[in-house]
């Protein structure tokens, strides 16, 4: 039961993009087309779950026993960067179809603050291993959900007549604000 609450809270109430403001660069960068948004969403789910688990293990079995918590930032970013590289090589060799689908989004994930952010949240909240697994997955699903919804809206906005200064990124941010307002309604649910 607790896990369901945790999942709902991570997907809807504390949506990583719209309530915690993490991962906004790919949010705006890859949401112009539905295809790229879907690709990015899947790449994030894949990497975020793995990164969440591995950083949890690194933190619990390496950093804490050695009293090296202050190296967390460096340690986590190294884990994430090498993980992304590894996943890229692995997919290229063994599942080329998936690799072609995710394409350029994989390397970009290294600098996606949602990944690093969730890893830090897992550690700061002192989640257990299973909780970290659930929260990583749920945050990633929340990311994908918001990204795909936003891409859908943005494709419609492209056809609308927008005042010149508001074009492109500006109107995208205002749109994101309105979607965020919709997600805001979930506040207090959990």
């Amino acid at each position: 039961m607790d896990y369901i609450v945790l999942a709902i809270s991570a997907i809807l109430v504390n949506n990583i993009l719209l309530a915690q403001y993490l991962g906004n660069c790919p949010f705006l960068g890859t949401s112009k087309k539905m295809e790229t948004a879907v690709g990015m969403a899947f790449a994030v789910v894949f990497v975020l779950v793995m990164a969440g688990l591995i950083t949890w293990i690194v933190n619990a079995f390496v950093l804490v026993p050695l009293k090296l918590e202050y190296l967390r930032t460096i340690g986590f970013i190294l884990v994430i960067a090498s993980l992304v590289q590894f996943v890229e090589m692995f997919l290229k060799k063994s599942i080329p179809a998936l690799y072609a689908g995710l394409g350029i989004f994989l390397p970009l994930i290294t600098t996606n603050c949602a990944v690093m952010g969730v890893c830090l949240i897992n550690v700061n909240e002192e989640y257990t291993f299973i909780q970290a697994l659930v929260s990583s997955f749920a945050y990633a699903v929340g990311f994908g959900l918001a990204l795909i919804l936003f891409a859908g809206v943005r494709e419609k906005v492209l056809l609308a007549r927008v005042p010149r200064p508001l074009q492109d990124t500006s109107i995208a941010l205002v749109t994101a604000g309105i979607i965020s307002l919709a997600f805001y309604a979930f506040k207090g649910m959990v």
């Binding site: 719209l18 309530a19 915690q20 403001y21 993490l22 991962g23 906004n24 660069c25 705006l28 202050y70 190296l71 967390r72 930032t73 460096i74 986590f76 970013i77 190294l78 960067a81 290294t110 600098t111 996606n112 603050c113 990944v115 690093m116 952010g117 830090l120 949240i121 700061n124 005042p163 010149r164 200064p165 508001l166 074009q167 990124t169 500006s170 109107i171 995208a172 941010l173 205002v174 994101a176 604000g177 309105i178 965020s180 307002l181 997600f183 805001y184």
Partner: protein
């Protein structure tokens, strides 16, 4: 076209100011600008990291092999971020608590990595220092301005001082998540309006 050191500094203040002109580093810009003080604090922390990572990357640019440059940049940046984190924990503990996980997240701020990649790796040390400082201060001003607007409308205060008096009903929308997006979007539109003659 080579610019002088002074011009490299100044361009960060208006011409290429993040997050408006270079749409990078949005996450901290949205997340910490609930108040002006937080925005400026975050901006200064980022400036510190930008300045020193630009300095070090440009000093080491002959040594870093191109193939693994991104990994090297990230390690340089992560080192300075850890320094900022520890310094802030020691000297500005309240700000440290308010900014929370966004201080370690400077490491994945695309502005910092972007400057290493696009500028410091190719240019001399002095130019890179000027560039880092300029972009950093531009980022600080932008975050301060956005924080100021959101704080003024959302809680009726500037840097914690009441502006409108007790009868003002704060428009709390602006300090919540949706207001961050809308506020940044409108500021971007304003910049476009002023910038394009």
């Amino acid at each position: 076209m080579a610019k002088s050191i002074g011009q490299e500094f100044v361009k960060g203040l208006w011409e290429e100011v993040p997050p408006f002109r270079l749409v990078l580093g949005l996450c901290p810009a949205l997340a910490v600008t609930k108040s002006m003080a937080n925005g400026i604090g975050m901006g200064l922390a980022t400036t510190f990291v930008l300045f020193f990572s630009n300095l070090l990357v440009s000093t080491l640019r002959g040594v870093i092999p191109p193939k693994v440059r991104i990994a090297c940049f990230i390690i340089v940046i992560a080192t300075f971020v850890t320094m900022v984190e520890l310094l802030m924990q020691a000297f500005t503990y309240r700000l440290f608590l308010q900014l929370g996980i966004f201080i370690p997240l400077i490491v994945v701020n695309c502005v910092v990595l972007g400057r290493s990649e696009a500028f410091a790796y190719k240019r001399g040390v002095l130019h890179s220092m000027a560039d880092g400082l300029g972009i950093g201060i531009g980022f600080t001003l932008a975050l301060g301005a956005l924080g100021g607007v959101r704080e003024l409308i959302g809680s009726g205060t500037i840097l914690g001082h009441s502006v409108f008096g007790a009868s003002f009903e704060p428009f709390a929308f602006m300090v919540e998540a949706p207001g961050a997006f809308v506020g940044l979007g409108l500021m971007l539109a304003f910049m476009n309006l002023v910038g394009k003659k």
